[in-house]
Symmetry: D3
Subunit: 321 residues, 6 copies
């Protein structure tokens, strides 16, 4: 690991200022107005306009910020010190519109595009899973990218409530149709739960998406599964999206569409750690819905997964420097 | 009171079947497929597409149904037995669309229009306050009607988030612009809380809406205020809308936009009882948002206000027979 | 007030031992095995076998004990120091049987009879309201006594679920039938909420019970109402029963049969303070159901009402010494 | 899998009607008045009269119905489409009596007997575990049947609180004594937690019941354990009872007698899926106690286990057609 | 009211940016590093080192910030627009020390002294009530000031747990002893609840403090009581401290020492509005303890009282300009 | 196992007295005033003065007592009957001081010293982890002892908030410095989560402490890890400390410093059972913080771990007799 760059933004030290004190920002980092000068921009997307059942992910960024105060400076397994090897800050929330879906999508895209323009990697906190679509629109401007997708649901359905094409159950179908994702470089891990139809995932599979159901994950384990996942996305640009509902509802109850039998947080951490080596051009944690959370455990899980992702991306930034 | 019409639908008797048993319907009445043959149609509008802050009113009808099992057959003060003097049933929920605002408004209007067509009075449970707009569109088809409006907020703002004209902060401005409401026969009671601008209510007042702020209510009391309210709407057709946030957040915490200093439930009950004599062509209870409720007390309040409204309307039905 | 009897049991002092420390007993008094030597016996009745809807009052004594740690030694208005003028202790819970209603009633009666035999006044914490029936059986052994009854419900129904005569909706009808209560010396205060039938209270009224509905209380106020109540019971032996559901559900949500529009805790305190002068031979606080409580506020209300009752009874004990 | 029988009842489609809309029924199926014409009858048993500690399972059916709206039409692993291969509906709740234990048992038996008479397989949702006794009385009318029993507790105790023989800790002892169960065809899986006596399970073992403690399950795994379980019950008629407290309290906190160290929901799902091949004549999910639930996670677990059981039974129905 | 000073800091507009979006600050004002240039400095004191029972007020500032997003720009009764007539911002939290009481007191004093030095009026959010002592030390540097004190408790005890002189039950005794407060210009309003000793308030009364018990307030009403309060403090410098436990526990359950029978929020608002005319040199809202809050209602009450105080102080600033 | 000593204290039998009845004590054992005559003294330490973030462990003993009513008389795996082979009782809580850290430490030490003096083994319930320091001071009076430490955190930091040396993050550093612990006979199991510095544990490791991170535990399993742990502490006197935050936050959310990826309760039970053979001179369960608990699951976990520890120690007592 390289020596600390003393010009980088640093989080408030909890041994000096207690975790409950001060303004709430991601990882207790400074709040800055833009991604200028950053390697990694932590950003909130407080929007759940695509939610078909239980809304509330609009409140996700605030609570993930609150509980991210529990994070410290270094990763206890990898030893990565993200704030020493990368310039990271909290750039606030993108502009949203809670009552106009299409306008909401455009605002989110614009917000992420501004990050990308500055050369920073966006690491965002949703928001429902439809937020990933405008994020991909902002990132995949020069051709389809790869995707590693942790989720209980494939989110490749076509339409809801008549002919509504944009919901949190459809973003990855839209992203493939729009040429943002390369389905052959897309892998979904943890998929489970009852389906509308036995053939519900046929479209995705026919496109070339690799779906690793929870049952396969349980048989094979994280190391084996992630080896395959890394092989699928290869060396090219890849987005990582972590739907908190991939984690079991007992460990992440605060979400819109819970499905029992999910990842333990321990498994989730191992999966994210095994992302090392992937060329990540952006990542997110989505579907944390605080109104349905209990005791903040979903927000704690979300904040910790965010920290795990940050460490992986920071190591990549350091290696590329 | 007239003798019981034994052909009317009757609620399940809690002295025979405990309140926690059986399918959950409004007041434990039978679930029927349409308003045909009904005097009063209880109906849910599970939609919160116009909510600008904390969504969740989409879950309102379900929880109000659950807690309405606490209601019994007769009003202990007026002696009204609504199920004996009017034919009442639960006709389920209108069709909604949680991700398309304009489609949602149309579906709600169509659902209520079907009730009106059958000659039944719609008594609905929202849903956020924007749901009242399509309800009014379905009811006020032959000219503007009167409105008695219990709320913490005037809901006569113009636009949000750019030029969005349809939110739960704007329905009554739209209704007046559309000729659905007669502003001179419109009275708002319980308005309070900080405002965007000291002149925020000027448009409403200029239209002729009478705003009775909470402070005036406290000074004058329910009897005096309702005498004025009844005078304002007079003998013509009037809609009654009860926003649960008119009640204090300690008694109705499960709502999107709480404002302290609200009505006590006792005051709210008295206000509704004093509606007797108004010619009610429809009524609703809105903004019960169960994800923010605690211990079900908001749903209990909502269910009881619904029962109070039902008694008033049933008495009117009986009187008109 | 007489000087402190230093032989009396004293509560733990919160200025010496914090409220959260030590075993949990009523008012932090010593736990003693029987009522021998006591003037007033605090006792739990953890039983809800008569509950027709939401059970949970079986857990009432434990939580009221927990929150009664908030009580201090003296009443701030009357100046009464109950532990200085009366010997008071926590004698534990009566024996109960959660799965056999009739055996449960007998066990409760036996437990209270043991208190009465020792010459102590039982001040109990339920349990559901059916527990008051066996308490009255243990106390009213020489003829009917008077009753001051704070409640949302008259609890004078006849039968439930076929021909079941013992539920928490029937105790006072049974008590009158059994000659335990003198209906002409019985007053019920705070009755409200929808009823099964407009004539539901006719039996009670025909017996001579005075029902003061909530609406009458609101009009007249506590002083006037309690003057009448004291006149009704006169100088003879009287039992006082306080159903926590007489208090508004926002202030006492943890109960089985909530009815909005209840007493504020402030009103409840005033009512109990106005019991001074009544010859109380026993009292209870019932229907605190912790599984439905939120933030302990119902248990706090129950514990404080218990303290208010204790002060009144202690003053009576002191006056009679 | 056979083609869809278009005459079968179908659940509401969540891609057309959001999950929060409409009346709440099991799996969003139609509510029908009886089991006539059904292959499988979903039925609630809202009764907890046998509960010795924390009551609340009486509210189980309502909340399991609510959260069963999360289920979709097909099983993602087995591909079973229960509503296509079997006629399934929600027939409501059996009649219960919350204050008379023996009457309660008779009502439940009668309710299930009516299902059996129609030739439908009852798949019920409790209620506490004593409800399984009257269910077995209704089913095992021609001789003892087998039992696969998932639970933390053996529930084969003899008496409580004196000589009370009917509690949720005794149903399977009673069922064996009454000749309803063949103890040699009875297997209990997941048993754990402190016991009243080291020999507490001796009676059960002496009868021939096979108890697979949690520790043995952990060593052997679901596949091996269920192979043994299937061998124990063989090809003859077998009842399956799933006590939600077999699942860990962190994943199913809403229950009366929690014991840590339970099944994960993932393990529970695997166990139920491995029931395929058993000849199931009835099944239940019991001890979901919503007043002790948090965030609905117990109800979600209960609803999903209900769906898993439904899929297994539906496949059996289809195979037998 | 003077015209808006366009150089003043302005809150984010909820009609442009939804309330759940963006970093959380008091009233959605900008976060600034110091009080330089401010008229009024909003500041958090996240410290509860003096709490003798239930701690948690250390988390108060964060939650009050969160819920203060519900505030808008203008007061609906007085018309005051605080952000137009005064320069107000959120200067963050003072430095605290959660494990060293004396160091904690010094840090708080230093933090407030820095505000005073800039000429700004500190309007702080605690924190337990002991935090008011170091605030007074920072403000009353030139002689004793007056105090208007809303609380359930007098907080003038002497010692706890042996000879500990600094707890949240003792600050005003210490402040008088230290010459920070003029007891003859000190008034306490809303005092209630059981006391350690009937003479518990004798010291305070002997010093000249005017205690207006809750019962007196109920008899006289807010207008009369506040007329007296304003007369007591007169025209000289006065501090205003608002303990959230002065409000009833049903409306402010999230606090350390709840006492039933408190102010309604409506009464509390009226009391604060009647502070107009007092020369306020600092004010605080203390004892909001989020771990004991339910549904955020205590934080909402705290945030609104903060806004009410802000309006009064801003009007005073404007008048003095 | 030796025959029951009928003179030993026995818990209340839940088949005779329901779990919710009676005063709340550890395991429903008698409350006795001192450790005289006991083999094992169950004792509460309601103190969290060393907590740097979320306080609340002061309330731990009360809730662990409440939920320990779920424990029965015998261990279902080992068959140990602790109350038959050892004399065990609840001796209440040590004296504490919530507002003076150093006085608090002294009081705790004195309380435990009194137990040790009686020759009983203290098995305590915290309280935060700093409470273990004064416990060790009371026990390790003749030289350093060994330690088996289950925790998410090493708790060997040096200073907080300036130069504060006593917090719940520093006890084991202080204990080693004070010669209470032999670092070469100290093993920490389950350590995980982000760290202040990659070298944060260097001091501990340099002292000779063996840290088994969660990741190593997952690889090796409980049997292997505990074999090493037993070898490290050998045959000499050893203390066992169980921080509830070693368990995953989903299973033990009620704690001050949650870290995802923790032990399952099943793993925790196995670990504690594998302590058999260690010479335990004292043990504790710490950091149960009820204000952050949900549904009591943390208290249930704490109570069960307490029972598991009790069984191991009781077996040791029996073996040594």
């Amino acid at each position: 690991m390289t020596a600390t760059n003393t010009n980088f933004f640093q989080p408030v030290d909890a041994a000096e200022v207690p975790r409950f004190a001060g303004h709430s920002t991601f990882m207790r980092l400074p709040a800055v107005p833009s991604a200028a000068g950053l390697d990694i921009a932590l950003i909130g997307i407080p929007w759940d306009g695509g939610t078909t059942n239980r809304a509330g992910a609009r409140h996700g960024p605030r609570e993930v910020r609150n509980y991210s105060s529990l994070m410290r400076r270094a990763h206890h397994v990898s030893g990565i010190e993200p704030f020493s090897v990368a310039n990271v800050a909290d750039i606030g929330d993108v502009s949203v519109n809670p009552i106009d879906l299409l306008d909401g999508l455009q605002r989110i895209q614009a917000g992420i595009a501004a990050v990308v323009k500055e050369g920073a990697i966006p690491l965002s906190v949703g928001g429902d899973h439809l937020t990933t679509l405008p994020v991909l629109r902002a990132i995949a401007t020069t051709g389809p990218i790869g995707l590693i997708h942790f989720d209980a649901h494939s989110d490749t359905n076509d339409q809801y409530f008549g002919n509504n094409r944009y919901t949190h159950g459809t973003p990855f179908r839209r992203a493939i149709e729009e040429g943002l994702l390369d389905p052959k470089r897309t892998v979904q891990i943890g998929i489970r739960g009852s389906v509308y139809d036995p053939g519900e995932h046929d479209w995705a599979k026919n496109q070339g998406i690799r779906i690793i159901y929870m049952e396969e994950f349980v048989r094979r384990g994280a190391v084996d599964v992630m080896e395959e996942a890394r092989a699928i996305v290869g060396d090219a640009a890849t987005y990582v999206t972590f739907d908190i509902d991939s984690i079991d509802p007992s460990m992440a109850p605060g979400t819109g569409t819970p499905e029992i039998g999910g990842f333990s947080t321990r498994e989730a951490q191992e999966l994210v750690r095994l992302l090392q080596g992937v060329r990540i051009v952006g990542a997110d944690v989505v579907e944390v819905a605080p109104p349905f959370d209990i005791g903040g455990i979903t927000a704690i899980a979300g904040a910790t997964i965010l920290f795990e992702l940050l460490c992986v991306i920071a190591a990549q930034v350091a290696a590329a420097r």
